[in-house]
Amino acid sequence: MNVVVCAKQIPDPADPGQMDPETRTLKRDVKLILDESDSYGVEMGLQLVDAAGEGEVVLVSMVPNSEVGGLRTALAMGAGSAILVSDEALAGSDALSTAKVLAAAIQRCEPDLVLTATESSDGYTGTVPVQIAELLDLPSVTFAKSIEVSGDTATVQRQTEDGYDVIECSLPCVVSVTAGVVEPRYPSFKGIMAAKNKPVDELDLAALGIDPATVGWTGARQEIVATAEAPAGEAGEIIHDEGDAHERILAFLDDLKIL
């Protein structure tokens, strides 16, 4: 069973980043790490390959600058190899262009299953997984809580407003995985050492046969017209509890006549 896991490499969310006033994009001059949201897909992929008893997890990632820091983390967790699509022309890509690039890379792997997160931590459009599925003419299930594969069918628990649906999906297919549904393993020391020698196949747009004009800034076909600081709310009342804070809360609620 061959599983492709999309692994986005992003600036550390603990470092909030800045909007570049010139280009109106997020500045990304910091080192990239594996998006935590994708660590669940990596873990789920590894578990499915284990359960099948054969196959491997192949990572697919797109960046403008050859960065592999995040991929090494996922390789250390146990993924077998990676395809990195890197090209300066990719800077500024929107979600659809990103999906086109990822789909072209995924197609080379002929996977049984493609896993993604439901949304990335930095751009969080949440549209890339389904765009990939449509571009590859594949069925998809989004918001998966669990996945079981048997023969040519994946059985997926899909999150809903008030519970979950059980969805059966023919393979190959694209499944987006909800955060927190599995416990991503910590890379072992052995894993980290092994990751250094695992193959990372770096491709540029020409190698994928993609016209650079269809991606990046020009391909996005959308522009930021204005930015504005959101008005700051009025500062509230802050009190230290001296044993009677509950009375202040009750008085606040009484003033609103809500009880």
Binding site: V128, Q131, A133, E161, S170, A220
Partner: protein, 322 residues
Amino acid sequence: MGISKIWIYGESTGGVVSTATLELLAKARTIGDTVEVVVHGDASAVAAELGEHGASTVLSIGELGDGLPGPRVASAMATAIDAGNGPDVLLLATSYDGRDVAGRLSAKIDAPVITNVVDLTVDGDRLLGVESIFGGSLDISTGFTGDGTAIFLVRPKSFAAESAGGAAAAVDSLEGGDLGNTGGSTVKDRFAEESTGPKLDEAAIVVSGGRGLGSAEHYELIETLAGLLKGAAGASRAVVDAGWVPYSYQVGQTGKVVKPAVYLACGISGATQHLVGMKGSANIIAINKDEEAPIFGVADLGIVGDLHKVVPKLIEALQARA
């Protein structure tokens, strides 16, 4: 030319239109000359409600059977758009199925999507989507540079649903196209969690608990307080990820957006991803033992203290009143 025709992807359960769909209608009817709603299932069951909220026509793609909406709705929309019968603007709610439809359609008609929209503004002939980033401190307005249908995914609670007193919408049909391999997922079973009291995203009062509760057993404090206030209980993602409560309790970027009259946050730090789900609340009360916690930045009333002392006393006082 302006914005003449707007489509909305209409979602409903058992003949009841989703609040998010009605919110989109409330905004769309102030922008477009004609507003049409694309639905699946029984269109006549929802035509009155959709018409009342401003739709002129309900376009039905028919029954889905056990198929998922994404590929089927997108294929019907793409067929109409390719034939030149599409809208200037398509609005969808950021829901499970709304995102599926938007993603599929975007790839089919090769059109980008503006996502995470919290407001829509008219800029000459085109519509701009406002996204709120950096935890709501910066608003960015984005517009499309190309022609064709402008697709926007709008976050719930961005607009207030309100009746326009309109007559029932006309019902028409929209033909689906070939699904290729994309229709290969089917619903086998559905499970709904039992819940009592008001729904989280509709309650007038929401009491939410975070990691500061310390352990799963202590979540009962939140349930009890919410019950006494006739509100709904919510949670931060830390608590959901820890398995203390189901995902349906989660408030925030990847959970529900709530805008109650009162939001009471107990032991929640106020990470930006939590704030985007609740900072639109009319009144925010926060209890946190760390006076530096970012949640105090949005609080109307902030209590610096131990929730294990404050909340039980609040519960006692409310019980004494009842």
